[in-house]
Structures are given as C-alpha cells and as structure tokens.
C-alpha cells in the first residue's frame, strides 16, 4: 500500500518525502483546492521545486484541484489543470465533472484521481466516474464502515485510496454545505470549512468562547482544552441537552485496520492535513512508514506498537482518536 502524505508547503513536502511518503499531494495558492489557508500551498515555482525533489527520491506528486468551479471561476480552474499538467505532476486529484471531462480530453495521459470531494461511496458511482472520465483511482469518503469498504472494493473498477489519519469529516464530503450556511465559504466553493476569517475567540465570565461568524460554536470551562471551532465539532443544545450533537473533536486513526485494508486490496492510505506543520508531517509520516513496512515484511504478525499509538494520539485533536465510520458502532 502506498503512503500518501499532505504537503501544504515546500518544507512539508520535503519532510514527507524524507520520512517515507510514497506520494505527496499539494494544491495551488487559491480556491482551486480544498485546503485554502492563508500562507499555505504552492505557486508554480515552488511546485516545480517540490516535484523535482520528490521525483529525484522516487516519490510521486499529485495535485489537488478538488473544489467546484462556478461559471466565473471556470477559466481559473481550467488554468489550474493546465498548470498541473505543465508542471509534470503524476496525477491530478479532481472532483468536478466538468473539470474531469476537461482533463480527460485535454490530458488523457495524466492519470486522474477522483477526490474525496467527488462523494463516490459505491462501485456504481465509481463506475460512473470510470466510464465517463477514465479515472485511475478514487479516494473514498470517510463515511463507510469497513464492511461497506469491502463491498465497494470487491467490485471497484478503479484503485482505491482511503483516509488513514487526520481530521475526521463525518459528513459525506462534497455534499456538506454547513460551512457556507454559517459563513459565506464552503469546501465546495472556496476550499474552506469554518474559515479562519470568520473565527473569533472571546474571554467571557462564562468561559472562553469560540464563534464562527458570530455564532457560538463552543464555550470552554476552566481546565477544558479549546479546539478550532470547526462547526460540526461544537457543543450545541438539542431538546434541553448540551453536547457534541454532531461529533466530538477527535482525529481519525486507522492503524489497527491496516492488515484488513491490505487484504481488501486498497492501493493507498491517505494522511489528512495540508494545514499542518512540517514537524507534524514528519512524525505522522515516519510512524505510518514504520507501520506499513512492518505490515509488508510480516503481514501475519502485524501489531500496532504502543509507541506509534502514543505518537499519533499526541498529534490528534483533543488527544483522542477514533476508527470513525470504519467501526460500524460509531454511526
């Protein structure tokens, strides 16, 4: 299985490659990718440097152009595909059908991967993308249980990549408009969820409050650790009870599932987090490299080493990890 790591910057890209990534993925410095953060991502010069660095060390580079262009953005998004092509990336990660069509016709020889933003959760959906745009690989949304992944993998016409570690989206990606409902930006339109520009922190007599476009997302009592106000991870009131009504702030960690994922024929595991620091990427990539190497050399004897677990827990939201939807009871 291939280890696919995030690269939000050139240092992060190099770190990922140095620590065992088989492939890295990056986006351009605009809304054409789903991790639009100030100061993050690549211009063409940096991207060329990163690609050369990776290729010299035997790693592949994928370019994510996985948001949805509207008519007034069409030329810009199409231009992003052209730029990726001329940079010589190893694959383009796309979600929009119009853009997939463009890439398939104009650059048939550059492999197309379906982004998680393409919301493909069944082999019929994968066949749709395969038949229409000849995708080589698809990234599965983080909403399927392991049994369901098994069902998809059994009939999949394309390679599959699954999320292994990082922030947990609990909604079917590509079909979540919660962020644009509270702010004016969503992953689909702007590559942003709960955008930083809308975040406000405030000390109050009741505690530290986090707000998104003035909406109270959470309030922390003394001794509680505060996290970024991703709107689905706040505490809200439903019929008189206040709780994490949608999801707790935890990270996805699927180390335990590695042998099973390999048996299912999954081609790649993906690390989330282009917004993370190079130091974070180094720890995560190194840990997963060890795990994958152990799996490779002794598949029957694979166990998760306590050291890996504690390293990853230390890098997780709230210090907690979950198997998420892979574990059916989570639902």
């Amino acid at each position: 299985m291939e280890l696919v790591c995030p690269a939000g910057s050139l240092p992060a890209l190099k770190t990922a490659v140095d620590n065992g990534a088989n492939a890295v993925y990056f986006g351009f410095r605009d809304s054409t990718n789903a991790r639009q953060f100030a100061g993050l991502n690549f211009n063409d010069k940096r991207a060329a440097e990163g690609i050369e660095y990776a290729h010299l060390r035997g790693a592949r580079v994928f370019c994510a152009i996985n948001t949805y262009p509207q008519p007034d953005g069409w030329e810009q998004w199409k231009g992003a595909v052209d730029r990726a092509a001329s940079l010589g990336v190893d694959a383009i990660i796309l979600a929009d059908m119009g853009l997939l069509d463009y890439a398939a016709n104009k650059y048939p020889d550059i492999p197309r991967h379906l982004s998680v933003q393409g919301s493909a959760t069944s082999h019929e959906a994968l066949s749709f993308y395969k038949d229409n745009f000849d995708i080589r690989r698809a990234v599965l949304p983080r909403v399927l249980s392991l049994d369901q992944v098994r069902g998809v993998a059994k009939h999949s016409p394309v390679e599959l990549e699954v999320f292994a570690f990082g922030s947990l989206c609990i909604m079917a990606e590509g079909r979540c408009y919660l962020s644009s409902y509270l702010t004016d930006e969503s992953p689909n339109t702007r590559g942003a969820c709960s955008p930083a520009k809308a975040v406000r922190w405030q000390e109050t007599p009741q505690g530290l409050e986090s707000r998104l476009n003035n909406v109270l997302i959470d309030r922390y009592g003394q001794g509680e650790s505060a996290g970024y106000p991703t709107l689905c991870k706040g505490r809200f009131e439903v019929e008189g009870s206040v709780y994490h009504a949608i999801e707790e702030p935890v990270s996805l960690n699927t180390l335990d599932l590695l042998p099973e994922l390999q048996k299912l024929g999954i081609s790649a595991v993906k690390i989330e987090g282009r917004q993370r620091s190079p130091a974070y990427i180094a720890d995560v990539a190194r840990t997963w490299r060890h795990a994958l190497d152990n799996l490779e050399s002794r598949p029957e004897a694979f166990t998760v080493e306590p050291q890996w677990r504690s390293t990853l827990a230390g890098l997780s939201e709230g210090g907690l990890t979950t198997l998420g939807a892979y574990h059916r009871k989570w639902k």
Partner: protein, 296 residues
C-alpha cells in the same frame, strides 16, 4: 409560467401521513411531484410498490411525477433499492448520487439531478446532457449570480436543460453515515427504533445562546431557518428558471403552495408565508451571503 414542484419528503412520516399528504397535494396547484425516500435506507414505511402505486395515482391526477433516489448510498442493499427505482420506464428519476446517474444512464432512463448533485458549471451539464439529463437543480448553496451565468451559458451552448430552484423549506445541508437522531437518544444506528418518526419536522439544534442553527433529521442535517424565496420569484422568472421547488412540511404547506401560485401568476399574496410557522426565515444563499442570512 414557472412550474411549481414538491420535493421529496425529507422527514420520516408514517405511511398514513404520507398518503394523506399526497391525497391533498393531488388537489394543489403544483405541476411536479418528487416521490421517494431520499434520506435514510432504514425508513421503509412505504415499500417500493407503495411508491409506484402512489406515483401512478398522482400521474392519473395530472401531475408530473419524478422518482427520487437516496442521497448517500452506502451498501449493496441501497444499490438494490436504487436499481429497483430505475428498473421501469414510466417515470423520470431524480438522481441524488452518481450511483443513480450510472444506473439511469445504463437503463436509458431520463433523469433530473437533485439539489445535492454538484452541478456548479455548464461543462458538468454538458457531460450529463449527452446521456439523458432532463433538468437540473441548483445546488442549495449557490445563488442568483451563478444561476444567471449558468442559464446564459446553457443558452449560448444551445442546451435546453431546464433549471429548478429550491425555494421554500428547510435546506438539506449535509449527509452522514451517522444518524444524529439516534445519537441524541444514545441508540446505535442499526437499532435506532426509528425515533425520527416522532419528529416529523426534525429536531432543533440550537447554539447555547438559543440561536436556531440546524435541524437534525436522521442522517441528514438541514438548515435551522426556513429558506424562502417567494419574493424572489419575479427574479427567477426573468432569469428563465423553469421550476420552483417547495419542500414538504408536516403542516401549513397547502397555504404556502397557494401563495407561491399567486405570486407566479403575477399576484401579490394576501399574507406573508413567513408568518405561517414560527421559524426564522432566511434567503442568504440567493444573494451570495451566508445561507442563514436574511436579506431585505
């Protein structure tokens, strides 16, 4: 004149409630009715044959009937239900997932893309128009500027694919494999006791300052305010929107339909539908603002 449609019922209602609702709707001035379970595979008050019977009855009453498909497809059982819906040639289907596109195209069945299908540009419509696309819904988070550009682009390409706009009701904003209603009751999804049937208008999710943010409805999350584009109907007419969608609610929809009908005929409604039920209205998406905003 623009058409009025009733979207699929997004809530879980008893079989009798559903039958009563459509018995009434047959008499309302709506042109198109979308039928079927678009949210949760566990909701089976109506069996596929019940839906087909209902579809034929409503067709006999002069309504255009479209069969809606499930939005988040997770299992082989979901695919079997989907194939069943697409294994007929009497009705157009509303494809709410790429799985439905694939099956409809394979069966040469005409389809309309629902509001959860990511149709954000003309190039996407061009791909689908070659394969049986008969209409498309504007994704709920998009507004009038994008819509106008889309319609203009379609005209330039000489593509006659009618546009539909979700114009009244709680906006379907997200789908998960997790059931938030079951989570509220501390029940596993696989043994959810079908609690959402007790909440025919969903469950209100508020901030700790009592601001209505969302409505929990099984595996789906809807807007906490009610989208209302009644005053924007003249805009839509000018733009060339073909169909205006109203989303079924448990109470008061007949009155809403009546007023939308008056407005599409150029009239002024006697009372404001915003006052019908005590839910804050919103229209932000239409104006390129946060969806929850109310402009004007």
């Amino acid at each position: 004149m623009m058409k009025l449609s009733l979207g699929p019922i997004l809530w879980f209602w008893s079989k009798q409630t559903v039958f009563d609702f459509y018995a009434n709707a047959a008499e309302w001035p709506v042109d198109t009715i979308y039928l079927g379970e678009a949210v949760c595979s566990r909701r089976r008050e109506l069996k596929p044959d019940d839906w087909f019977d209902l579809a034929r009855d409503l067709k006999a009453c002069g309504k255009d009937v479209v069969l809606s498909t499930q939005t988040l497809i997770e299992s082989e059982a979901d695919l079997r239900r989907l194939r069943r819906i697409c294994d007929q040639d009497e009705f157009v289907v509303e494809a709410n997932d790429q799985s439905a596109l694939q099956v409809a195209i394979r069966n040469n069945l005409p389809f309309i893309t629902g509001p959860s299908m990511n149709v954000y540009n003309v190039a996407t419509i061009k791909v689908l128009a070659k394969q049986g696309l008969k209409g498309w819904n504007l994704p709920v988070e998009l507004g009038k500027e994008t819509l106008a550009q889309m319609i203009q682009g379609l005209n330039e390409e000489d593509l006659d694919v009618p546009a539909e706009v979700f114009a009244w009701g709680f906006l379907p904003l997200a789908w998960s494999s997790r059931c938030f209603t079951a989570r509220h009751y501390n029940l596993p999804k696989d043994n959810c006791e079908f609690r959402c049937i007790e909440h025919p208008a969903g469950m209100e999710l508020r901030s700790r300052e009592s601001q209505e943010l969302f409505r929990i409805n099984g595996v789906s999350t809807l807007s906490g305010s009610r989208y209302d584009l009644m005053r924007e109907l003249p805009d839509m007419e000018r733009m060339g929107v073909s169909t205006v969608r109203l989303s079924p609610e448990y109470q008061g929809l007949e009155e809403v339909v009546k007023r939308f009908d008056q407005v599409r005929r150029g009239g002024t409604p006697t009372t404001d539908p915003l006052q019908l039920v005590e839910v804050p209205p919103c229209n932000g998406y239409w104006y390129g603002k946060p969806g929850m905003d109310l402009v004007g």
